[in-house]
């Protein structure tokens, strides 16, 4: 046991002499023999405090509250006595993944872990009941658990969980536990305050950037402005003797200045003369990339994602063919907290404090980079200043560990400047899509061909083989479109470019619903039908959730009611992350192209709504995230370099531009969908449909600023 580990262990045991863990084991997992009293999810202390562990990251999505709510619900805990603590990646490694997947990506925390979290709570509850029953000599079936107390009504006996925990920990684990009927939930479904907010408003909370260690040094870094370029040569003589500068490192892929203060490091870095080897991509620009994508639209031998009927033939038979190309650009994430990681290599032991969305990947990359055994790595949890998908990748962790390796024994905090962040992101892939529909004489759509030309996240970022050559995110919401179109062909031509791509909040659903749902409006217009009626006519009865959310949101938005002169509506719907969403926007546009958004109504059916207040916050925030991208978001390439660098030229929405957002949470039960990402999906098409209606001209590319449109407050 390392020193830090022991300290952690002692702190836990000393703070609660009679703190007992109710061992809960996931299948195929076993806790290490040196800490048998620590369990995976739940500790109950003698003073009735219940510690529930949270195994993923908190980056504002609220899961550090929602996930423990699921445990507490089945445990029949008194939520007021619950304290949430982070599980760690090193404990997960040591326990053969007792905490399962730790990644906070894909809006998956609740939907992928709800079952084992609820079972953890239920198992513990049954063990507490069994302990009480044994002590009282009564059948367990006569005992009840509620609000942290087990009681036996016939004998009027009761004991709190704190008093039962020691005995309960000795009880056998029940194999099958019954989970509560959702109608009996008392914690799940309530709008509970988030556990981390009090520490946020007082400034007590610690983000990755706030890591402070004895003797810690600060590093500023610069990678080659052309992706995948390297350092040819470096001359640091100008800054080497400057105040606070400890070392200037040429690490091949990037240069790092290490100093006693980050500002000194960053200032010195500007004056290090670096000659880059930019490789063969030093002249790449956005026009070339667009030409490449365009060629993909007509390329033969595309990879087929969906092939219902005989689309190409049906298109030939069509009375009318409607064709339209849609484009969505590369997008940087710009989390408020730039990439940051602290690494400390002491002998063969490595500690890392990283603002990571995937602590297990952090551990693995850190170990590999340092050349130490994974068992010798500790990844300390920190709050993330936003993630937005960027912090699942570990490029920055790797850089920090490389620097720490060059300065063994010294804790190094590496922080990116905003310019480094904008210019070395892993961008939401640009995507060019050709939509081709064949209508019969009655204007009914008989065939739909969707051709996608876009980079592949799975192949280039995750290095995964593509099933049938198709990137699943590139064809998101196309491959599984719910519309009743007998001939549907979706095919994909992978675009390999030098621009690194990554998961950007809502991923494929941040762009493809814009394409699909705007084109559906084009078809509605061609058929002379109302966009809502047209969708309902095209959605089969079996698409119950699509129909339901569409109708719910349309009703909430008074779809069909008369609008003031000059105000126009748009609507869109889609599934995403296992939830169903729809949106209605109302806009008016001045002759100068100033867009006023009078109303946004956005709805979600996530199956179950675990913490409705948090879901509403996610929906409100998704509108802001979406609107920044829709109006201004694009990263362009010139001379192989990203042209944008900071918030002055990569613009974000501010409070004074915030339109009125109404949220509709309409859970229909029976399934578990995500909530962090999905509601951004229907926003772009609903807004673009409203704008197109107002302009009498179809918007087929983003951002809107490129159409001469600006956002002004309604």
């Amino acid at each position: 046991m390392s020193q830090l580990d022991r300290r952690h262990f002692l702190k836990i045991t000393a703070s609660a002499a009679a703190s007992f863990s109710l061992g809960f084991y996931l299948p195929d997992t076993a806790l290490a023999a040196d800490a048998p009293q620590l369990n995976a999810w739940i500790d109950i202390q003698a003073d009735d405090t219940i510690v529930i562990r949270y195994a993923r990251a908190e980056m504002g999505q609220g899961s550090k509250t929602s996930a423990p709510m699921l445990v507490a619900e089945e445990l029949e805990a008194d939520w007021k006595k619950v304290r949430v603590e982070y599980a760690t990646a090193h404990d997960n490694l040591r326990t053969n993944r007792a905490y399962g997947d730790m990644a906070s990506v894909g809006s998956r925390t609740i939907r992928f872990s709800q079952e084992y979290l609820r079972k953890a709570g239920a198992t513990a509850r049954e063990m507490l009941i069994a302990a009480a029953a044994q002590q009282w000599g009564v059948p367990a079936s006569e005992c009840k658990a509620k609000l942290g107390v087990v009681s036996h009504s016939a004998s009027k006996k009761s004991l709190s969980y704190g008093k039962l925990a020691a005995a309960a920990a000795q009880m056998p684990q029940p194999k099958d536990v019954a989970l509560k009927d959702p109608k009996n939930w008392t914690i799940v479904g309530k709008p509970l305050p988030r556990v981390d907010i009090p520490d946020i408003v007082t400034g007590r909370i610690r983000y990755g950037i706030d890591t402070q260690l004895p003797g810690m040094l600060h590093a500023a870094v610069a990678a080659c402005p052309v992706f995948n370029g390297t350092v040819k040569s470096m001359d640091a003589s100008k800054v080497q003797n400057r105040r606070g500068i400890v070392q200037v490192l040429n690490l091949g892929e990037f240069v790092a200045v290490v100093a006693d203060n980050w500002w000194r490091a960053k200032e010195a870095l500007r004056e290090v003369a670096i000659e880059w080897d930019v490789g063969s991509n030093g002249s790449l620009n956005s026009t070339q990339l667009m030409a490449q994508f365009k060629a993909g639209l007509t390329q033969e031998n595309a990879s087929i994602a969906r092939n219902d009927g005989d689309t190409l033939n049906a298109l030939k038979q069509a009375t009318t063919v409607i064709e339209a190309d849609y484009f969505t650009p590369y997008l940087a994430h710009t989390t408020m907290e730039p990439m940051v990681c602290t690494a400390w290599l002491q002998g063969d032991a490595l500690q890392v404090w990283s603002s990571t969305q995937n602590a297990e990947a952090t551990l693995s990359v850190a170990a590999q980079t340092a050349g130490v055994a994974p068992a010798n790595v500790k990844v300390h949890p920190v709050q993330l200043g936003g993630g937005l998908g960027r912090k699942g990748s570990q490029d920055f962790t790797r850089q920090a560990v490389m620097i720490a390796k060059a300065l063994p024994g010294k804790p190094i905090k590496m922080l990116w400047s905003r310019e480094e962040d904008v210019q070395h992101d892993q961008y939401r892939p640009a995507s060019l899509v050709r939509m081709t529909a064949g209508l019969d004489a009655n204007k009914k759509v008989q065939a739909l061909h969707i051709r996608v030309a876009a980079p592949s996240l799975f192949a280039s970022l995750l290095n995964l083989p593509l099933q049938n050559g198709v990137d699943p995110q590139a064809v998101a919401c196309f491959k599984d479109h719910p519309y009743d179109i007998a001939n549907s062909l979706v095919d994909y031509v992978k675009q390999d470019t030098n621009v690194p791509v990554g998961f950007w909040r809502t991923v494929g659903h941040s762009q493809n619903p814009f394409v699909r749902e705007c084109f559906i409006d084009e078809l509605a217009l061609a058929a002379g039908k109302d966009p809502l009626d047209y969708r309902l006519s095209l959605l089969p009865e079996k698409a119950t959730r699509d129909r339901a959310i569409l109708q719910t949101v349309a009703k909430a938005a008074n779809w069909g009611a008369a609008l003031p002169s000059g105000v126009f509506r748009g609507i869109a719907e889609t599934e995403g992350y296992g939830s169903w969403t729809a949106c209605v926007c109302e806009v008016s546009i001045s002759s100068k192209g100033e867009v006023k958004i009078h109303r946004i109504v956005v709805g979600i059916d996530p199956g179950y709504a675990v913490n409705p207040n948090n879901i509403q916050a996610q929906m409100q925030g998704s509108m802001v995230h979406g609107l920044s991208a829709i109006f201004w978001g694009e990263n362009t390439l010139k001379d192989g370099r990203i042209e944008q660098s900071n918030f002055h030229d990569y613009r974000m929405m501010r409070l004074n531009e915030m339109p009125k957002v109404e949220t509709v949470i309409a859970p229909t039960g029976g399934f578990w969908g995500g909530v962090g990402e999905p509601t951004q999906a229907p926003l772009a098409p609903a807004l673009a449909n409203a704008i197109s209606a107002a302009l009498g001209k179809r918007i087929r590319s983003l951002p809107l600023k490129n159409h001469g449109l600006s956002l002004v407050k309604a």
Partner: protein, 152 residues
Amino acid sequence: MKLKVNGKNHELDVEAEMPLLWALRDELDIKGPKFGCGIAQCGACTVLLNGEAVRSCSYPVSAAANQSVTTIEGLAKGDKLHALQQAWIDHQVPQCGYCQGGQILTAAALLKKKPRPTDQDIDAAMGNICRCGTYARMRDAIHAAVKSGAAQ
């Protein structure tokens, strides 16, 4: 140079042009003010200087010498939260929270000047970026803090 932060006096030996943000964070270990852009665009670094909101990433520490700096850590009076902090909790404003210290301090400076701000006043004052998109709740929380009557 001398710097008074959250009522406590500090002696600093740093370059005059070092931004206040990095003097606070890396010299004094006061981590409430955050780094977001370095060019006074986002406001995550906002602190109060004699009650006025300033963007500390672009404010030389020497210009703050011998004056009173308040960071988010110093806004509460002991255990008693500032009305804005309480309203921020009541309205569950923060998401990731990274920008929120700067947002709350910006709002505090606004209330000091305009104890009953209109929506237009709030629009004009609250220019800090929040990538999570907590704007609607911030506005509600500011109005609520005013109503609570304890925003001074």
